[in-house]
Amino acid sequence: MTQTTKSPKGALFIKGLVLTIGALLLFAPFLFQDTRSLEVAARICIFIVLVASYDLLIGYTGIVSFAHIMFFGFGAYGAAIALKEMGPGWDAVLLGAAGGLVVSIVVAIAVGLLSLRVKAIFFAMITLATASVALVLASQLSGFTGGEDGITYKAPDLFKTANKLMVDADGKVARLFGVKLNGKLAAYYFVFSTCLVLFILCLRMVASPLGTVLKAIRENEARAEAIGYRVVAYRTFVFCIAAVTASLAGSIYAVWLKYTGPDTALSFSIMIDILLMVVIGGMGTMYGAVIGAVLLVIAQYYLRDLMGVASEALHGVPFLPELFEPDRWLLWLGIIFILLVYFFPKGIAGTLWDKGARS
């Protein structure tokens, strides 16, 4: 990490961009005053953490895991089941998050020790299989997880939309810059602050000596081992750290969404989203996680509308409207993804970062 000594233009730009995104997210409820935007902002916060923790694995250590979403799901289901069984309350949230955390750590250690000794490719396959089993179990153990329908529950009282944080003279919800100070706002800031803390922890971790060791392992495993670092131990450790972070992010998301099901917390398409975000943003740059998550979540919510328009415009042309249908947005993202991996393997953040350094 040499960017502290010299600050090339690209690096400054990236940092500025990330700070701007942070500021936008901080004031999101006041800047974009509708429910959908708030939903998007919260999703961005969660995915930044999820993608940053995945970046620890894929970008910094060079481990390809497809089980990241599984840990996210453990956290989400932990909180969801606790909130459902114990009723809305902070004790339920804490207990559920802790439960998810423990399951995540145990599974991460088991998978890590079993398969991190072998080649990267083996590990990718084994995590894929594990995650698919988790998904199947979640949809089959319906008494416990609600099956395909998922679980709906209530969040702690503080986050209820009807909850008034402040009341004005008439006893109605007080407004600040036209925004109702209700539980929804509290929930958003809960998501924002916890995600910020988790992201800063990730950032701190890669800047620490541990982060340097991880990069050494990524660059040359044999040499890292020869210097005296126990590669398997480090890999398992970082796999656990990433699992813990993902699990916490899952619990936060469960509290925010008040619903947990296979589609929101375990499905393989989310895993693909995470992968796209990491690669598009830039692997091994942490800031890339922010950029990738923002771009992709916004694309998810708004690109579909745009493609709907394109599909309408192409009406009458054979086959093309099919390709531009709103549901086909992944097709185009997939193509962009492949091109990025070919031509800009460092992603947006990595490429821009270097650009400044060269000039």
Binding site: L330, V341, Y342
Partner: protein, 330 residues
């Protein structure tokens, strides 16, 4: 103990594992007639999975390329043959067995041809630029998988498609009180034929010799003046075509296919090649048969466990032999 293991080795070593599993299942199930039905189903399933997995395993063994997009060939094969069969539905229903055979032959040929062409395209355009870079390989082939899944959705739509079977493959044979579905027997025979053909090509021809030598030591074969990369394109094409054929047969077996088919099969295929040991055709066959048998037996004995059975099998085998049952010499 040592003598026992030597005797076991002489009779086939790990190849006895499916037999052992079948015997245990026979004792547990008790009723011979259902045991036969389940075993035939398991063998048929294993053979189809073998077709899908053999290409993946060979490609990895020869070139150290793991194609995460392999399942795209499986689903394309399934959908293309389903469409072809639907197109020839008049022939399928006819009582004349020749027309039936011709229809299914044409449908499978369409899937095979697609596999060959798509495999060539995949190898030359998508994978060639990222040889020797595992991380980018995984990412690129994953991206290709996303794109091809979306293309399937765009072309065939998201709703399940019914696959028609030729009339002569419908129904089942009755031996006493044992029922054997004809399609399963057909799948088993076809799979076995492909395995024998693969085996002969690999063990009896010059190309097979080169492939096996390439799996064992690529640099040495190249140093002797052979163009391994050209050979590899061929192996990739054949592997993809076999996956497409496996998909086509699977479509007829399931009779109802959805675009999610590729993703589901990919997990099974991965488990099979991990169990069997990457790079070896025999290992893949063994792994596929084990998975097929276990899935059917456990589905009968303990339906609740069936979902995790593949996973448990993989864990048990990896603990016993970390590089698979019959890994290629490397």
């Amino acid at each position: 103990m040592n003598q026992l293991s030597q005797t076991l080795e002489r009779f086939g070593g790990v190849y006895l594992l499916p037999v052992f599993v079948a015997l245990v299942a026979f004792v547990l199930i008790g009723a011979p007639s259902s045991w036969v039905t389940l075993t035939v189903a398991g063998l048929a399933m294993g053979m189809m999975i073998f077709l899908m997995a053999s290409g993946l395993s060979l490609i990895f063994g020869l070139m150290d390329v793991l194609n995460f997009g392999h399942s795209a060939f499986i689903s394309f094969g399934a959908f293309i043959s389903a469409s072809a069969l639907a197109y020839m539905s008049g022939w399928l229903g006819s009582a004349h067995i020749g027309l039936n055979l011709l229809a299914i032959f044409l449908a499978f040929s369409a899937a095979l041809a697609f596999g060959l062409v798509a495999g060539w395209f995949f190898e030359v355009v998508i994978i060639k630029p990222v040889y020797h870079d595992h991380l980018r390989q995984i990412l690129i082939t994953m991206g290709a998988l996303i794109v091809s899944e979306q293309i399937i959705l765009a072309v065939w739509g998201g709703s399940p498609i019914t696959v028609q079977r030729p009339a002569f493959l419908e129904g089942s044979w009755l031996f006493g009180n044992v029922t054997v579905e004809i399609y399963r027997a057909f799948a088993f025979v076809l799979g076995l034929a492909v395995y024998i053909a693969l085996f002969l090509v690999l063990k009896r021809t010059r190309i097979g010799l080169l492939i096996r030598a390439g799996v064992e030591n690529r640099e040495m074969v190249e140093a002797l003046g052979f163009r391994i990369d050209r050979l590899f394109v061929g192996v990739f094409m054949v592997g993809s075509a076999l996956a497409a054929l496996g998909g086509a047969m699977w479509a007829g077996y399931e009779t109802l296919i959805t675009p999610a088919l590729g993703g589901e099969m990919m997990i099974v295929v991965f488990i099979v090649v991990i169990i069997g040991g990457l790079g070896s055709v025999e290992g893949t066959l063994l792994g596929a048969i084990m998975v097929g048998l276990m899935a059917n037996y456990i589905g009968f004995l303990a339906p609740k466990l069936a979902l995790a059975s593949n996973m448990l099998l993989m864990m048990a085998i990896l603990l016993w032999r970390p590089s698979g049952l019959k890994p290629a010499v490397k």
